[in-house]
Symmetry: C2
Subunit: 323 residues, 2 copies
Amino acid sequence: MIQSKITLPDELQRFNPVTVIGAGTIGVSWTALFLAYGLTVRVNDPRPDVKEVVLNGIDQIKPTLKALGLPTEGLTNRLEIEPDLDRALQGAAVIQENGPERLEFKHELFSKIEKVVSKETLLLSSSSGIPSSEIAKGMKNPERLLIGHPFNPPHLVPLVEVVPGEHTKDQAVQDAITFYRALGKEPMVLEKEIPGFVANRLQSALFREAVNLVLEGVVSMEDLDRIVTNSIGLRWAVGGPFLTFHLGGGKGGLPAFLQHLGPNLQNGWKNLGNPNLDEANVQTLSNHAMNSYGNVPIEQLEKSRDQKQLSVLKMLKDQQSSR
Amino acid sequence: MIQSKITLPDELQRFNPVTVIGAGTIGVSWTALFLAYGLTVRVNDPRPDVKEVVLNGIDQIKPTLKALGLPTEGLTNRLEIEPDLDRALQGAAVIQENGPERLEFKHELFSKIEKVVSKETLLLSSSSGIPSSEIAKGMKNPERLLIGHPFNPPHLVPLVEVVPGEHTKDQAVQDAITFYRALGKEPMVLEKEIPGFVANRLQSALFREAVNLVLEGVVSMEDLDRIVTNSIGLRWAVGGPFLTFHLGGGKGGLPAFLQHLGPNLQNGWKNLGNPNLDEANVQTLSNHAMNSYGNVPIEQLEKSRDQKQLSVLKMLKDQQSSR
């Protein structure tokens, strides 16, 4: 479905306007997505070149939004750059915070935020590591504070990990789900706070063994990447690790799979590597990276990756909606 | 490209005929693929119902071959079921072995094999765990023995891990690559033997943390799967873990990424789980599986997964050939 004009959908009316705090990669990506869905967005960041950074960023993201079937005409019409935090927060229905990952910073920021916004304002933090229960300490009204952690870049990758803390009211969780769904995202609510949440922990676990295999000289970096894209990557794009093994267990599903192959798996876990990212190993890995990818400009690798990513994404979305 | 008639391509002439040993899931899948590419295939398995198993298996695989653009008319014309090992081996240009994963079994089998086949026969083992250096012990002519480990199912997933042992001659490695490439596969040669090879080790590393997160009550099994398909799965279908972080490092690529985020990663690795697949946990995971997927028949889940898998695969292949 390709729309030519940007219009605010009904289900997003009560989430308008949005204040985006922090104009880094994540903040700018959220901004572009929010704008494409018709939201009025106020961006706050203390850096002096904030306007340039945001406008350039949106310019680069535009083609991807278009490719996703989103309207981009007059994309920045409802964009406001507001370097003053208090003014940026005035009247906001939603805050999407993307500041530095330091607890003291978040404490100070959210204590300022709650002084200005209404109690109805949804307070979402993109934090990838700090649970909102930590941020909430010292706040007077953390009932509507929770984590809305995207997988980079938020305008392209569907996942948003929604992680409430003990202080978060159910209604705020429901609102976060409604908000992100209306933006075409796939919000997934975690039942428990854990450092790194789910996607990054899983990514990190695989990456540890990937580092081990390259450092052990089993495979080059480029070959390891091709092994992944030609096997588990393909698999996990259409079914997660549990479903994959559930279907690998024959008629008995995952229970049969674990019964038969559990001891093997457990044994294999003992032999996985535990590499150290010390200076020498970082240097070795950096050399490998330059050998594998150094001869192609990053922009070109990125363009080729994003093109494939978009096609896969659109294809899976089409299949989903045709079911 | 859709062909209607099966013809043996020039580059496969010297690999004809092929003997497939073992008519389990992997063996039957190889058989169907080999047949679709015009090879004459002799299947050997001691089970009394081998003919039925192979024919039924090929029947189920046929639609997927078709969807991949392969010809399927008269698919079983060049199929021979030969329960006698010696007769099955006579004149074979290639052996693809898919027997049980027990070292003694492989020892005995390959000592029988080398007595019958010519020294030119390419000896490929689908073993997912036993390196060929182990199998080669006790053989007189292991120069053309090596691992050709597919990712299940071989007729669909592109990856074949090609793992030579110390005894394997270079020419045999080159031949294995030529053979698998001519079959539309993506053979990747490992530089070193390691238990579990690469894809399964990476898969296992991620699965360990997945098991940990479900056992810790952070997320349901189904939600974890959806988190993966909506983030890292999508990413890794189009670029492996190193390329992903190389592009996540900005202009500085992976070296900059590791410089900035290495300490964080290393720290995170310390906190990854180390679950035990004991009886109680296997029971808990089995219950989770039934809660998440028990209400949908396995065949239906499989069909839906395979359909998506095929579309993603075709799309990526089209993009590759159009580059």
